[in-house]
Amino acid sequence: MAAIQPSPSSNDLQPPYTRTTPLSWVLQNLFNNWYNTVFTLFFGVILSYAAYRGLRFFFVTARWEIVETNLTNLMVGQFPRNELERVWAALFLLGGSGGFIAGQAKQLSTQDPTSPPPSPGREQILDFVRRAWPFTILVLFLLRLSRSTTIMLLILALVALTGAGRLIGARIPGASPKRITIFALATACATLLLLLFNGPPSQEWGGLLLTVFLSTVSILASFPLGILLALGRRSSLPAIRFVCVGYIEVIRGVPLITLLLLSTILKLFLPPNSFDPNDITRAAVVLALFTAAYVAEIMRGGFQAIPQGQIEAAQALGLVPIQTIRLIGLPQAIRKVVPALVGQFISLLKDTSLVSIIGLSDILKVSRSFTSQDDFVGKGLTAETLAAACLVYWALCFTMSKESKRLEERLGVGER
């Protein structure tokens, strides 16, 4: 027999690990053969030039005074200036309780023994930066334009309040999904009250406020509605199935603009004085109804991807159909379609710009109106106003997409 092999030292049991330095990464991935080198150089030149022009515009040539003068318009449209406290109060409320909810959620997830151990503080800060940088850029840009100390202080206070809410939320014991839900609902109601109760008429709403309000409301409304439609489409009762399929196919067959226009003449078909929703309500309802049809199709895909065995297992355990849907079907379906769902919601957010067709002043409409003001007419500052709108949309949408990625990773724990 051969001599006994020396047992491998603990070093041999480590996976072979070579440190990738940035330089070695670049060499291995961008310049590893001649055609890759050509591509790298070619696109490198194009991208550098574009970046150069973009940055030069942003920092040097752009005449931001048009946005500067209209900053408040961009944010809230014609919202009465003496009622701006409402908006600030709503922001503070959302920041504070948003932080609190995040803290409680964090607490919940650390109570869960399946969660990974808490990462060190440095990790958490890095993580926060990775999440918040698009929004930070937007806020810094706006602050730089406003040059108002009051607003700067208000923003700082808002950030501080959010952080404080987060800390308090992480420390107050007894977090539960139920408490978080109640808290979130209460916050939503309070926010609506703050903005709407005895508030300015709907025509005066505008800008970012209107865009965010419309998207939030219609996202929140379209999601449950879409789920119901998806379930209805799979129902065993033909009547329900026909109604749902009909709804989905009609809505998906008509452009959103058409539906928005239709909504304005809808009152011609209703009994006089029966009910006359204002434009914002109408737009929110149309956006929600429209998106619900798409959400329904996405959710249907999710439901169909669930193996039959899952449903049978639930039935064999004695769960009734509604419990099977709530506890087994929905959670699994949603996990499968998070990316598509968030994609739909991002698309909805951008589609809110279409409400200008029924006379509402969303952020895009507002920003386009600046160039016709007396001070700026004929000065060719369209690029600046559009760039500002772009930045706002991008910060919102990119954050949504990043958060969706995060959600996907967290929901996918332990799945194969």
């Binding site: 297992a313 039935q315 004695g318 009734v320 332990g414």
Partner: protein, 282 residues
């Protein structure tokens, strides 16, 4: 990757020497009939069951009576209707003709009756069918909490107890996707047992497992059989059938062809089709 430390601590010999003596230490795993039901009535009665898929007849004139605490192993070639038969017993398939009574409750279109039966009948599937989005603990506590309205604390205590029974208490907080096949199937058994069923149905519980994991699952099922649980097991595991079954049922083409004791069935089958089948799988 069978966990060695578990296998060494398994109670009882395998295969067990005595067939189904009621072992005292296993009693609380089974609930041998709630006190007031008469123990001499059969647990399962199938009378003249027919089942068609479109115009394909999957079950024809099946008669089977299963006594309390009896263990039945169903054998038969692929497509012979074994799965279909046990799936009619908790209404995962609707039978088209005949009568099925589970502990005296007849399975009809009445939803409440169906739910009643499903609460009393546990089922274990070939593909485990654990809920991938829930931890092992939540998989087990789900039905007790939502169907039996058991408080969370009690349900979790019971789940840990069951996981100890099936030899994997340390996996409670993992997700099914993080377990080996054998461990997953044992969780599935624990999940069914958590409803404290009177009957357990197993549909080829070891067919999707690698050979080294089959034993750990069969040990658990054998243990359960010895504790007095009424069970119907679709399985081709000869050793298990010999060790645990009171009767072997041989099916072919939707019919029950032969019912016999395991010893007699494997050594001297009566029917020609059974002989052919045995010669093919032995």
């Amino acid at each position: 990757m069978g966990d060695k430390e578990n296998e060494t601590t398994l109670p009882g010999p395998f295969p067990p020497q005595g067939k189904k003596p009621l072992q005292k230490d296993n009693q609380h795993m089974s609930q041998p009939t709630s006190g007031n039901t008469p123990t001499n009535t059969p647990m399962i009665v199938c009378e003249g069951i027919y089942k068609w898929f479109d115009d394909f007849c999957a079950l024809r004139n099946v008669h089977l009576t299963v006594a309390r605490q009896e263990v039945i192993v169903i054998l038969g070639p692929s497509g012979s209707g074994k799965s279909t038969l046990i799936r009619t017993m908790n209404r995962l398939e609707k039978h088209d003709k005949g009568r099925i009574l589970i502990d005296g409750t007849e399975l009809t279109d009445d939803i409440r009756k169906i739910q009643e039966v499903r609460r009393e009948v546990g089922m274990v599937f070939q593909q485990f069918n654990l809920f991938p989005h829930l931890t092992v603990l939540d998989n087990i506590t789900l039905a007790p909490r939502h169907v039996r309205r058991m408080p969370k604390k009690d349900a979790e205590a019971q789940a840990i107890e069951l996981l100890t029974r099936v030899q994997i208490p340390q996996q409670a907080h993992k997700y099914p996707g993080q377990l080996s096949g054998g461990q997953q199937q044992r969780v599935a058994i624990a999940r069914a047992l958590a409803m404290e069923p009177k009957v357990m149905l197993f549909d080829e519980p070891t067919s999707a497992l690698d050979p080294e994991m089959i034993k750990e699952v069969l040990d658990v099922i054998t243990d359960l059989a010895e504790s007095g649980m009424t069970m119907i097991v679709v399985s081709h595991e000869m050793g298990f059938a010999r060790a645990a079954a009171n009767r072997v049922v041989f099916m072919d083409a939707g019919e029950i062809v032969e019912v016999n004791t395991p010893d007699r069935f494997f050594s001297q089958p009566q029917e020609e089709r059974a002989k052919t089948f045995l010669s093919q799988i032995l």
